[in-house]
Symmetry: C2
Subunit: 441 residues, 2 copies
Amino acid sequence: MSDVTVTDLYEVTMALSYVREDMRQDATFSLFVRDLPAGRGFLVAAGLEPALDYLSAFRVGPREVRDFAEALERPVGDVEPLLGLEFDGEVRAVREGRLVFADEPLLEVTAPLPQAQLVETYLLNQVCHQTCVASKAARCVLAAAGKPLIDFSLRRTHGTQAGLQAARLSALAGFAGTSNVAAAVRLGIPASGTMAHSYVEAFPGEEEAFRAFARAHPGPVTFLVDTYDTEAGVAVAARVLAELRRGPGCAVRLDSGDLGALARRARSMLDDAGLGDVRIIVSGGLDEYGVDDLVRAGAPVDVYAVGTRVGVAADAPYLDAAYKLVAYDGRPVMKLSSAKVTAPGRKQVFRRPGCADVIGLYDEPPPEDAEPLLRTVMRDGRRTGPPDTLDGARARFEADLAALPASARRIRGPKAPVPVFSPRLAALTDEVRGRLTREHP
Amino acid sequence: MSDVTVTDLYEVTMALSYVREDMRQDATFSLFVRDLPAGRGFLVAAGLEPALDYLSAFRVGPREVRDFAEALERPVGDVEPLLGLEFDGEVRAVREGRLVFADEPLLEVTAPLPQAQLVETYLLNQVCHQTCVASKAARCVLAAAGKPLIDFSLRRTHGTQAGLQAARLSALAGFAGTSNVAAAVRLGIPASGTMAHSYVEAFPGEEEAFRAFARAHPGPVTFLVDTYDTEAGVAVAARVLAELRRGPGCAVRLDSGDLGALARRARSMLDDAGLGDVRIIVSGGLDEYGVDDLVRAGAPVDVYAVGTRVGVAADAPYLDAAYKLVAYDGRPVMKLSSAKVTAPGRKQVFRRPGCADVIGLYDEPPPEDAEPLLRTVMRDGRRTGPPDTLDGARARFEADLAALPASARRIRGPKAPVPVFSPRLAALTDEVRGRLTREHP
């Protein structure tokens, strides 16, 4: 099944009409998030690289024509005008890892109208979800205040593809590892994981389980200590670890109960046993709020493993993103009805110090001290440079995060910077609105 | 990348230890949901078929061994004891489409311990997510009270695989179609979709847009009427539709604003124009709550298109599901610490009239009037019958839904039936708890 057919049917019905009417002039669509979800002071741009992979390979071949015809319940001949259609347009986009805010285009596609329309659904799918999860992971990094984080989300993500994406996006945001083997191998990021409660239960007792684990794994080991009674589990782990002398890198993992209190008790027991270098890993229903609570309480936690809530971005599992036509054949356009008004025209985001962003027109001169965020990443359907790397995206994220105002970095009640329109964009918006209101009184 | 490596690393570390210790006796793991999310009166079992596909194909080959070794940072030779491992166990499961409640096993795997452990992550990933989305879609079907629903979620699902799953699961729950072309073709379900606001904007005006659409599409057409001013849009659509005389199947779509009020106004305008057979489709941020509001208000809506909130199960995007070892080598086991106690032993769910379910032991005689829900669907690693069909799952869902108590069917404040333990299961739980408490005082 080709990715070309992973699309909403209406993209196909519209494209067929455009081709029939010979409406092949250049259109610009702008992909942006209307409002940030509650509890988000920023978004981390993500999903661009998979989107560019898709556009690079986009081609309506005979099989896609047959599938489109089947979905439309039309003869294949009716859909043949789309045969051979490829994406040969331009993409200007915010690179992965950059911080973005409401109304700021994450990408703008300029291409002949049928092409630019047909790719809508897939681009939204990739960019919405990935920006959503990357932003959640980024907040965990903020909450952990320098301590390493591990992605444990695979068992609860929306399918396995989403699990792979969650591992990639959390690595982009600075996580130290993932439990997901396929993701770790494919992306070259560290894999992490030790034992489940079932492992301990399969042995007569905890001590037998821990010793057997150490027999199979000669390096540093992590023991899960909360299968029966956590304090007793820590005592057993301390005894076995003291004998093993596996050195730094060993750890105990707490997965239930009052993680802060148990971490303090475990730390004290381990220290008393001369195991000051044995680390404490906590997991179990954590996200940035849980991590923040533990950090603020001064819990002696060395590593935070976060899963479900981060992998599905549980408190805000989607973004209110749109892919809107802003110009066609040189004419700026916009939608008027109800509250969903969008500004017309091709745009640029000018970042000024402190994320005091200005959204302007793509060809206007940048304000003083401003950096344009949208770069031309694809021209004539080809990438303008080599594919981006995860390290590059992470470096951009870290630099942007360091420059983000404290009010937007807050875990609770963050306040996102609100971009302003440039005078030229504001004037164009008024002008187009006025014209449309006269035409559709 | 094989699905075998789509797993948490700890499954591999544990399996290696089990093999080293020659712990290959049969283990039973039970996959169940601990608590239903707020706002759910039932769950719809789903994800079994993809899980069985995975188990049927499960084999640790040389490539998987290399990937496991890379993730573990161990020599390939250390992982070779897993080479050739396949799944040749038994699966007892609740068939897709059946309703289930808290603590009821959705499936139980009985297999040699290393195998039964290695498949944990993938099974949880499939069953959690799919049961979650199917349950959300089912509530939309209840809310729509007989009116057809269409899945529009692809642009906001967590990746494209999740979009395909959402289309399948909503069809399972009785949706009439999906916008997702790939899903429609692959699953043989109707595809649905017409035009976006961008289409209308690309023309000089709505009338030109609607006429052009009708030129490209000779059958029944749907016009999107809220690009500029909804009432004016309905008037234009009515004029064009009256001229076209395309007969029943034509529709107008409302995508923003006060959908109930606009639907009433549109209905009245269409009726006045002699277009009583033109239908009204509504969309835009709907889920079961929005649909319920419209139905209760008597809005003259013919088709509900639901997207984002259903495709990501926005109000409950994950389930608190677990895959717990309940027996090993003939010995029932359980976890004790904190609140996460699970009952030991292989189980059966006995459904009595009105969903007054009893969770018992797998080999106990059924209570009177009770139907056992868990069936043996895989034996010796092979399906016991042909793969299930979507139609079969839908039929089971419809039958179960008809028998569900009204309090569980409510859209707001539903009350889920609470299964009870059979006396034998309760006695076993007490016995194992007592033994473990003596051993881990």
